[in-house]
């Protein structure tokens, strides 16, 4: 996959999933990537509202939300026995289920698929835990090349303040406590997130991410994202030519109908 960047959108990075027809997909696949607590889901909520207002059908999806493996992953994370390879492959299973049963059918139907993280986060977590990058990249090779990957790039110290101010506590898995990267959760968080960010930064040039400075305000980030997505030239509906301000919930419902 040395030429990952030169692949066309909706081609597979490696071998396509067995028995799945990936031809004639007419939708758009848009990925939001970034470390934990960087503000991805806030953006996805707003992007969805905006895109639906514009008349586009949107599917939003994210890690560990598959019908097949979502619950299993949640259960496994409650215990204290989830090893790094097992975790990686559980997430890969979850991703494959969503890709084959949600993402590809939606793309075939012409939807815009907004995904909160993608194979890149699965790979980054594996690499941060010392797994071989070539191994996990090959495992995830059945993934489709997105039209765009927006990488909300932050420094570790920004994440720390977001976690402490926003959530008030460090999360076990976000701190990489399964690997005890540090003496306590803070130290482990810093070391683990540094490794994660390092892995994502490396992927950024390799896979052609569009980097967005996550230190900006949510509003600024949103308009930046909107500008980028507009450039993707998604088919217009009923002359809704220009990006509109974030619509109120009522008008969103009207747009869906």
């Amino acid at each position: 996959m040395a030429l990952a960047k030169s692949l066309k959108p909706l081609e597979c990075y490696g071998e396509p999933p067995a028995g799945v027809d990936t031809a004639n997909l007419s939708g758009k696949l848009i990925v939001i990537e970034g470390a934990d607590a960087v503000g991805r889901s806030t953006q996805i909520v707003q992007l969805r509202q905006w895109l639906e207002h514009e008349g586009h059908a949107v599917l939003d999806t994210g890690m560990a939300r598959s019908a097949l493996a979502g619950k299993g992953i949640a259960r496994a994370k409650e215990g204290n026995t989830l090893g790094p390879v097992t975790m990686t492959l559980y997430y890969a299973t979850d991703f494959a289920d969503r890709l084959e049963n949600e993402i590809i059918p939606a793309l075939r139907a012409g939807f815009i698929v907004l995904t909160d993280r993608y194979i890149f986060s699965i790979m980054a977590r594996a690499i941060a835990r010392g797994e071989d990058p070539a191994w996990i990249e090959n495992v995830c090779g059945f993934g489709l090349v997105p039209h765009a990957v927006y990488y909300l790039k932050a420094r570790v110290k920004d994440l720390v303040s977001r976690v402490v101010i926003g959530k008030g506590a460090f999360d076990y898995w976000e701190s990489g406590m399964d690997y005890h990267f540090g003496a306590d959760m803070y130290e482990s968080f810093v070391h683990y997130q540094t490794k994660l960010i390092g892995a994502l930064d490396k992927m950024s040039s390799r896979y052609g991410f569009t980097e967005i400075d996550a230190r900006k305000s949510p509003g600024e980030i949103f308009s930046e994202l909107r500008g980028h997505i507009t450039e993707l030239n998604i088919r217009k509906v009923n002359g809704a030519a220009r990006p509109v301000p974030i619509p109120a919930p009522k008008s969103r419902r009207a747009a869906i109908a």
Partner: protein, 243 residues
């Protein structure tokens, strides 16, 4: 991470059995593990598809027929990873003999028979520990089929490859699917260094051959490296064992 293709350096030993359904491999590995245990060795047993962490997901997927070839392959690899990380690897490091009923080669045969890319599934399992001995129970398709079809009332959906829509007839689908798996096994013999056991022989003859292979291949290191309970050591020469 090329551990499946390079010999491991752990104190313990890994012995695995492979073959199509109805080849008799489970009977044989069970006999072999009891024979080793009777000599006082620390013996652990790991069965395909048995991780408690993954079990409910697999069960759910099978029951609701949710699997595609890719997710079927990945969930079995997840199961295998859990058993490797939590069970097989630490026990091997501690010096146990781990006996496994089916190993990564089952995925190599079965997933490829389902249409999954051969190289992809090989890479998927590259974290697996290379076995010291891998037995392959060679069985002609019709022999295996008569054992399976005679012994059980209903063939299971995925076991019969019904997800591949080869045939609406379960038995017909099972035959075609198992035939493909058999071919994959046969093609792997040399690449993976399988010890081939003719599974049409009597149970006793097969077991005799297995024990001979074990003595020849790892007999010396069994005495020097593997964990062994000193109390049970009466007369190893005559501890023929299989109860």
């Amino acid at each position: 991470m090329k551990s499946l293709s390079t010999p491991h350096r752990h104190r313990g030993k890994l012995i695995i059995v492979e073959g199509i359904d109805g080849s008799g491999k489970s009977t044989q590995i069970s006999l072999l593990s009891r024979w080793l245990r009777s000599q006082g060795y620390a013996v652990a047993f790991s069965e395909w598809n048995s991780s408690p962490l993954v079990r409910q997901t697999t069960r759910r997927g099978k029951k609701k027929e949710m699997f595609t070839p890719t997710t079927f392959s990945l969930i079995h690899a997840t199961d295998f990873a859990d058993r490797t990380e939590r069970y097989i690897l630490p026990l091997m490091r501690a010096g146990a003999i781990v006996c496994a009923d089916r190993y990564a080669y089952t995925a190599f045969a079965r997933d490829v028979a389902r249409g999954v890319n051969r190289q992809w599934v090989r890479n998927l399992y590259s974290f697996a520990i290379r076995p010291n001995i891998a037995f392959y129970f060679r069985t002609p398709l019709d022999v295996a089929l008569s054992r399976i079809l005679g012994g059980r009332d209903a063939l299971k959906y995925y076991e019969a490859g019904m997800d591949l829509k080869i045939s609406r007839d379960v038995e017909e689908s099972f035959k075609v699917f198992q035939g493909r798996i058999l071919q994959e096994y046969e093609d792997m013999i040399e690449e993976m260094g399988f010890h081939v056991i003719d599974a049409t022989q009597s149970i006793e003859d097969q077991q005799k051959q297995m024990r001979a292979v074990v003595k020849r291949e790892i007999g010396r290191s069994l005495r020097t490296q593997v964990l062994r309970a000193p109390v049970l050591e009466q007369n190893p020469e005559h501890a023929s064992g299989a109860r």
